[in-house]
């Protein structure tokens, strides 16, 4: 597209401009079972079109069709008013469609500039060598357009998650993208970085670029999208302007049943202190941390990504070794130097990355659930047959659905995989659960089930430390909220005092007003 057209497209964004791309009647099957069926979707220039649905609703499949990774079995794809058929993401890119996957496809060892030009025709010098000067210049120009001061010559692996996201966007722009598909772009971003990303999205749309925004975070969706399309079980449920929907309605459309309460938290009556931490310090990660956790209590641990919360929890679990400080379990000092000792004292940590830290992917669901109790259910070194019954019981109690107990765990959806990770820790019957982002990347239905489970566990008298970057989650579930900033506890609020403003102020260290714009 030429320059004037771009500008015109940008101006026409608000009105009925011809779509950047359009899908109609699209059906895609995998081995006889339908992933998406008869779905229509279109993206107008300059709009943010949110695509929502539970895990497995077909969002990714649909966007992979647009990106040329899958060919549709039925239906058609139109780009710029003409029928198109892509056989690879490269074709899609040539037509101005770029996808930024959840797991960024950048090359960590290469520099920002190099990443921007991977797979493209690179400028050459008169000698036939690569013209690095021009490439760096071009990279700088793109980054400036995005309004970020990134060094084009630094290696991508040194950048933060947010900066990498920006590099991925810049890469799409180098390819003159007219449509950018973002899959869960904020899942690893902090609140402030999310703000920055939204600013960039606004700039993009002002220039007439259309953005497809896939996310589980409802507040974000309502904040930035112009239109919302809901998919459920591969079917197109609704497309409507964001202004005509509210959160309640959206959740109902996604889940297919009315869902008045996402969060479940009963009246709590915390008992004895079961875990106490005094002056815990680990150089460069956290400093002089004190807190106490009582049985039947859910203690929220809020803070920005990188505030040291995960490191703190992992130190209590014995994966990291604190430089100083003491840990008391049931009033007695505990020397915990390995996960085994933590587990013996009744502590269990549920990691945030379920695929890389929580699950043994080649294992069946059963073997994953019983992994933590192998020593308990074996006799003379051989695994007892009671294993199957235990796994079956947790499948039932946590309503793990989607595959049978002996099927490989990677057949399950993300939400159900997360339940398997939780089941594994519950099998060990811990008194203290350290939950690290237990609902990240999990659909609304599974989320509400996990919340209910947490509530049940607290009622049974288990003590729960809930690390979460979702404020809503911490505020709704926790009896008490601790906030960490740069490795230190920067605030503690009772359930009544914990407001978004208070917590964000403590987490960022800035005046409340600046961050309260968020909501």
């Amino acid at each position: 597209m030429t320059e004037p057209e771009e500008i015109r497209a940008g101006r026409a964004a608000a009105t009925e401009a011809p779509p950047v791309f359009r899908l109609d009647g699209v059906t895609k099957r995998f081995g006889g079972v339908v992933a998406v069926e008869d779905v229509a979707f279109d993206l107008r220039p300059g709009e943010v079109h949110a695509l929502v649905g539970e895990n497995g609703a077909g969002k990714s499949t649909l966007m992979k069709i647009v990106d040329g990774l899958y060919g549709p079995d039925e239906g058609m794809l139109e780009v710029g008013g003409e029928a198109a058929s892509f056989s690879s993401p490269r074709d899609a890119e040539a037509s101005g469609i770029a996808m930024i996957p959840q797991e960024l496809d950048l090359f960590p060892e290469l520099t920002v500039a190099e990443n921007l030009f991977v797979g493209r025709k690179r400028p050459r010098t008169g000698w036939g060598g690569l013209d690095w000067e021009t490439m760096r210049g071009e990279a700088r120009k793109r980054l400036d357009e995005l309004g970020v001061g990134l060094d084009a010559t630094s290696a991508v692996k040194r950048l933060s998650a947010a900066e990498q996201q920006i590099v991925a966007i810049a890469r799409a722009l180098v390819g003159e993208a007219r449509a950018v598909i973002m899959d869960e772009p904020t899942s690893s971003l902090t609140e402030r970085e999310t703000r920055q990303l939204f600013g960039i999205i606004q700039d993009l749309t002002a220039e007439g670029v259309g953005v497809v925004y896939i996310s589980h975070r409802l507040e974000e969706i309502f904040e930035i999208s112009d239109r919302i399309t809901v998919l459920r079980d591969g079917h197109h449920i609704k497309t409507a302007p964001a202004s005509e929907l509210d959160a309640e309605e959206l959740v109902r459309l996604m889940v297919g049943r009315p869902l008045h309460e996402l969060f479940t938290r009963s009246q709590s009556s915390p008992g004895e202190t079961v875990l106490e931490v005094r002056g815990l310090t680990r150089e460069g990660e956290f400093e002089d941390v004190d807190f106490a956790l009582r049985s039947g209590e859910i203690l929220g641990l809020a803070g920005l990504v990188g505030a040291g919360r995960t490191e703190l929890a992992q130190s209590i679990f014995g994966i990291r070794h604190p430089d100083s400080g003491e840990i008391f379990v049931d009033g007695k000092e505990a020397r915990i130097h390995a996960p085994q000792t933590a587990m013996e004292r009744g502590i269990f940590y549920v990691p945030e990355e379920r695929r890389s830290q929580g699950l043994i992917l080649p294992f069946s669901i059963k073997n994953n659930i019983t992994l933590s109790i192998l020593d308990r259910i074996s006799r003379l070194g051989f695994v007892s047959r009671s294993e199957r019954g235990i796994a079956d019981r947790f499948m039932r109690e946590l309503s793990i659905r989607g595959a049978e107990v002996s099927a490989p765990v990677n057949r399950l959806s993300g939400g159900n995989q997360q339940k398997v990770v939780v089941a594994k820790s519950l099998a060990r019957e811990p008194n203290v659960l350290l939950l690290d982002e237990p609902t990240r990347g999990v659909d609304v239905g599974a989320k509400s089930e996990i919340y209910r489970l947490m509530d049940d566990l607290a009622k049974e008298g288990k003590a729960i430390l809930l690390i979460s970057s979702e404020l809503e989650e911490v505020l709704s579930m926790a009896d008490r909220v601790l906030v960490m900033r740069e490795g230190r506890i920067s605030g503690e609020f009772s359930r009544g005092d914990a407001t978004q403003e208070n917590v964000m102020t403590a987490a960022t260290g800035t005046a409340g007003r600046e961050v309260s714009e968020d909501e």
Binding site: F30, G56, T61, Q357, I360, L361, F382, A403, N410, R411
Partner: protein, 330 residues
């Protein structure tokens, strides 16, 4: 995911077939059957009881070591020191046999030396946190050096017959090497399927971080996998000595790569977490069948290496294709 649901439905329809197709050793087994049929057609000498037994006897040393290295590979590590280790164990066992004779003492000596070597490998890999390929490569050279230092380059000859039982003996018409090979196979298969240790090996290889977070002793598991290799190499060295009757200083040279080849050809994933003892056994037998069959159908010896290499590549390719068919994701 809907895709996942699609896969589940797919497995329900052709469940049994897919489950067999999905087993790691299936392609190797199918290929083994194919080769046996082909060689039987091409040569009338191939399909006879004495020839088949001689194949199994000839791969016993390779197979026994492969069963143990298989465990190391399953837990995500590798051991390429077994060639020199076999030599050193045979020297230890041979020296014991020369001086005292008897069956048990040489075996104990060989196994003890093997276990010690394995413990060194295991310690360096777990506590030293050095990649296993480097550790065992170093040990491959170091142990060969020890052999030369200990023997001064001289052969060990005149091993008494009572010390050669594992190589020469037989029971119920089966040769001792074959009995040892299948005996250890059955033990490893049961251990792999039903024991906590076997489960731990798969877990550590499947995702070491997750295994550690579940409280599994990841270092202990890997350490003992290396020790197991040493023990099995010790046993294998007595089979070797029993058959050869003497021990040369170059005993076992090049064996380490054949062992890894057997494990991989059999279908155990080189990245760990997937595979079985049956895979290692199948891989070893496959190598024996090929080497034997090629000779019988009159293929010149100079072709052996090329054929073996092609086989390894074929095995890995089939594995990739099979995993795509089953929808395992590669």
């Amino acid at each position: 995911m809907s895709e996942a649901r699609a896969r589940v439905a797919g497995t329900e329809s052709g469940a049994r077939f897919r489950r067999y197709l999905g087993r790691p050793e299936t392609p190797a087994l199918a290929f083994l059957v194919l080769l046996v049929v082909a060689f039987s057609v091409l040569s009338d000498k191939f399909l006879s009881v004495p020839n088949l037994e001689s194949i199994l006897t000839s791969v016993a040393v390779l197979g026994v070591i492969a069963l143990a290295v298989n465990q190391v590979v399953l837990c995500g590590e590798i051991d390429i020191s077994t060639g020199s280790m076999l030599g050193l164990c045979a020297v230890a066992g041979g020296a014991a046999a020369q001086s005292t004779g008897g069956f048990l003492l040489p075996l104990v000596a060989a196994v003890a030396v093997g276990a010690l070597c394995g413990a060194i490998n295991g310690t360096l890999v777990t506590l030293g946190r050095i990649p296993s390929i480097i550790v065992t490569l170093g040990m491959l050279y170091a142990l060969r050096g020890v052999i030369l230092l200990v023997t001064g380059g001289a052969w060990i000859t005149g091993v008494p017959n009572e010390s050669r039982v594992l190589g020469m003996g037989s029971l119920f018409g089966l040769s001792a090497p074959v009995i040892v090979l299948f005996g250890l196979f059955v033990v490893m298969e049961v251990v792999g399927r039903h024991s906590t240790w076997g489960r731990n090996v798969y877990a550590v290889g499947g995702n070491r971080r997750a295994a550690r977070l579940a409280g599994l002793p990841t270092n202990r598991v890997r350490f003992f996998a290396f020790v197991l290799v040493g023990v099995f190499v010790g046993i294998a060295s007595m089979i070797y000595m029993g058959r050869a009757g003497s021990v040369q200083t170059n005993t076992g040279t090049g064996l380490e790569l054949q062992v890894v080849a057997a494990v991989v050809i059999g279908g155990t994933s080189i990245s760990g977490g997937r595979g079985s003892s049956l895979a290692a056994l199948t891989g070893a037998i496959l190598i024996g069948v090929i080497l034997n069959g090629l000779v019988l159908v009159g293929v010149p010896g100079i072709w052996q290496q090329a054929v073996l290499g092609a086989l390894i590549l074929l095995a890995v390719t089939t594995d990739v294709v099979r995993r795509r068919l089953v929808g395992d994701g590669v």
